[in-house]
Symmetry: C2
Subunit: 515 residues, 2 copies
């Protein structure tokens, strides 16, 4: 399907200006192995920043700067040779780390299956000194290690100024302070969640400013929900919706992610759930803004997603589970996606009917409602295991947390049955657990929807609260309190430690816990 | 001594525009170990350049391009991803080699004492693909190895265009062709010498475009001599003289080298012989151009060099040899520099008197002539060993080639005695030999000055002719036919393989061998 250039033009016109802030490091530190510390690395202050003004460095000397918080931006380096006029270039290695592990462990040993190019290091050669340089790439880091690979015998190198020009499209000046009665741990969670969201807000809602630095619809949906309660940058959501809507795939499917540069381009990754989230994200946007022009423009694309997804239902009304499709749900190798997908289809249909209603499209609304009924009845008939008291998924009748959570969110059962289902799951935990903050978000939302707010709060504290205790500046892409080096990519170096889908504590706190 | 900003301004106004030429690689090659090949590395063609249009590369794949000749310039790379939209940055390693050894041997093993930063390699990360990039630094190379350090599992990378924008300030269109009768080997030597000079002609006469990429007066003197007979870019010589003249050291000494950027700056390296070559280079420039304005402006600085150098004479009229001075002469750890320095003082005084004469400064001319006589008589009285038939140098009465050659060039003896001295040296070679093409240049000049043109030609063929047989595209900084891995820096990787002081075969051929 060709790009719809009119929609892309609208998206491009909504590209935000980024605001910049100059941020200076706060201290010189070292990163040391420590079995007690998170991921085995401890950060220890070694000197004041001011001490850097009195030092210069020779071949093979290095130091590590701590910028005090997570930064997304451009590095500025002032380089001053000390000694004779520099008679040879300067060669530096720069290593940027969101986390201490990135400073402590060698990137050369990286054996993960995601591209090593996501690890942020540079070797730069500078011919002319003194120099003021600004590295052209954007980095994402709290820690910066500078290694002097070589100067010459005639000079050493000093660093009179090092700072980062931090960038974001999220202006936090309008975010309301939390009421005084809010407990301190929730305040901290809210603050870190907002920082996470802000650092992901660039010219789109990025999934993670370190990796993948681009717009995924699964992340977008949650970012947008948090955004309406914090930064209120509705135009950025609109831009993202128009990017997805303007570049669908072969049969009209909304792609799972899009690229902005060198020109807007849809990725060839197609995920059943992510395409459906276009409907849900559009619904949330309309709820937040009432922007009917956008609804009219994007509705045909949203409706296509419902039709395409419904086309996957078998004769019974159940989403076909075979080897030809991809559905995300959670990072879990053994998770069967059928029941979750069924639930997400129902979840999206229920939002679709509201949009059709707003547009007065009765015939379409009728079709959607029929599909909803079909899929819901089929779910109860074929995916509900009365004996176990759980929804099952796939030919192996797998019981997972994901299936229960998504069926709750799809509201296939009534509220009290949903509450009973989740309570049953806590008492008899399904064999297939949850992996990501993204899946944990949906658990919290499901608990609240079922009237289990206390349990929701307890779970937020057990998950995001533990991340805070483990030193998170921003909330992480991946976290398992029981396995803190967890990575689905084969190395925790490549994990994103500021990740959009983890930013929702602020959404929960501000939506459900203010009164 | 402060910079004389008026002189620097004149120099800066003479900064030439560089002409550019787009140069494309000619073939894909591999560099293989071969004990028979120069420095142990053989270059073997493996594929046509055209084949690159049909290939793309994954993680850890690499290829080596041969640009067919030595290049100085900026690399342009066109990068085209093949497969899915590139979902991760591209990381490339680029290794630039003037010589096969730079491709064959790992820079990581480099243990030489000059800065490793002279070795030309880059690791670059490209976030947005496809891309047309031009690397900001200038490189000097014939061979380019491109290693794909990583892409991602979703794409490979193709290189539809790779070329270099070669730069020089030497315009060869006015260089007269050699007469038909000129033997083929001398034509080849002339051609390579001109290419060497041209690649060193940038915004100054650089010593070597790979290393040190800057203006040394020892190189300048020889480049200027070759330039008057080839490129005839007199203004570039003038610019260089003004740079040296405008930035003298503490007591008014002309520095051995100057930097152009970030702003003109004299190096703190002071060499007795190099300061004196300011006089000789000015003399040659005036002979070539008759530019009396420049002579009047720079003469006081030239005269200062004669006075400062004469101030080093002891009561006998001999240059003091102690641990407080530096004099270059040749790259030879054991060489005593006293006699050569004495000779270079006389050589410079003799050119100084001609300049004083042109300016009608009789009193100064008289002083110079007296100094010349004093230094010459002292050389004969104290440095000439009648029994050995050689000039000796230093307290150890060392006999070196350098002392004999420089005393011939200083014309301390008459022409027939000089011829006899050099013949005697060939028959009874001094223990301390010659190392660099720079020193060999002076041998050739001394032979010609002594009427031994046949011997001069034989020596040119034995030295530069051997370099040609060893595959030189440009003439090298260092060469010893008996030890082809020779480097005074601890590694032949760091040698400059296009070096100004080796460019003089064209000067000899065009000045002395046209008739």
């Amino acid at each position: 399907m060709p790009k719809m250039s009119r929609l892309i033009d609208i998206a491009e016109k909504l590209t935000p200006e980024l605001s910049t802030t100059e941020v200076y490091p706060v201290q010189i530190v070292e990163v040391l192995p420590d079995e007690e510390a998170f991921q085995g690395w401890k950060v220890q202050p070694v000197d004041s920043l001011e001490s850097l003004q009195h030092r210069s460095f020779s071949k093979n000397e290095s130091f590590v700067l701590d910028f005090g918080d997570h930064q997304v931006g451009y590095l500025n380096l002032s380089l001053k040779p000390i000694g004779s006029p520099p008679d040879a270039p300067l060669r530096l290695k720069l290593i940027f780390g969101e986390m201490p592990c990135e400073i402590g462990e060698s990137f050369d040993e990286y054996k993960g299956w995601l591209s090593r190019t996501w690890l942020q290091d540079e070797i730069i050669n500078i011919d002319v000194l003194p120099a003021q340089i600004r590295l052209p790439r954007r980095y994402c880091f709290r820690y910066l290690k500078i290694e002097v690979l070589d100067t010459s015998r005639k000079y050493t190198i000093a660093f009179p100024d090092i700072h980062v020009t931090a960038v974001t499209s999220g202006n936090g000046s309008g975010i309301a302070p939390l009421p005084d009665r809010m407990p301190e741990d929730l305040r901290m969670m809210d603050k870190i969640a907002i920082k996470t969201l802000q650092d992901c807000m660039q010219t789109v809602f990025e999934d993670g400013p370190k990796r993948d630095r681009r717009l995924w619809i699964g992340d977008l949906r949650l970012q947008a929900q948090a955004n309406y309660l914090t930064f209120q940058h509705a135009d950025l959501v609109k831009r993202c919706l128009y990017l997805f809507g303007g570049m669908t795939l072969e049969h009209g499917e909304v792609s799972a992610c899009v690229f902005e540069k060198p020109e807007p381009l849809a990725d060839d990754t197609l995920l059943y759930d992510y395409s459906l989230f276009f409907v849900a994200t559009l619904y949330d946007y309309i709820e937040a803004t009432g922007d009917m022009d956008t609804l009219q423009e994007l509705w045909p694309i949203a409706l296509d997603q419902l039709k395409l997804a419904a086309g996957r239902l078998d004769d019974r009304g159940i989403v076909k589970d075979d080897t030809t499709w991809w559905c995300f749900i959670d990072w879990h190798e053994e998770l069967n996606k059928q029941a979750s997908a069924q639930a997400i289809l129902i979840y999206a249909l229920k939002r679709g009917t509201e949009l059709a209603k707003r547009l007065g499209q009765e015939e379409i609304q009728h079709w959607i409602d029929e599909m909803t009924l079909l899929a819901s009845d089929a779910a109860l008939a074929y995916l509900w295991d009365e004996q176990q008291g759980f929804f099952i998924s796939g030919a192996e009748r797998q019981v997972s947390w994901a299936s229960q959570v998504w069926m709750v969110l799809a509201e296939v059962l009534d509220t009290s049955s949903n509450a009973a289902l989740l309570t049953h799951a806590f008492n008899n935990p399904p064999a297939i657990g949850m992996t990501t903050p993204y899946m944990h978000h949906h658990l919290i939302e499901a608990l609240i929807l079922s009237g289990l707010k206390d349990k929701a709060l307890e779970q937020m504290r057990a998950y995001w609260g533990e991340m805070v205790k483990d030193g998170a500046d921003c909330f992480w892409e991946l976290y398992n309190p029981a396995d803190k080096r967890l990575s689905p990519y084969g190395s925790n170096l490549i994990n994103s430690y500021c990740h959009a889908w983890s930013c929702t504590p602020t959404y929960f706190i501000r939506k459900y816990f203010l009164d």
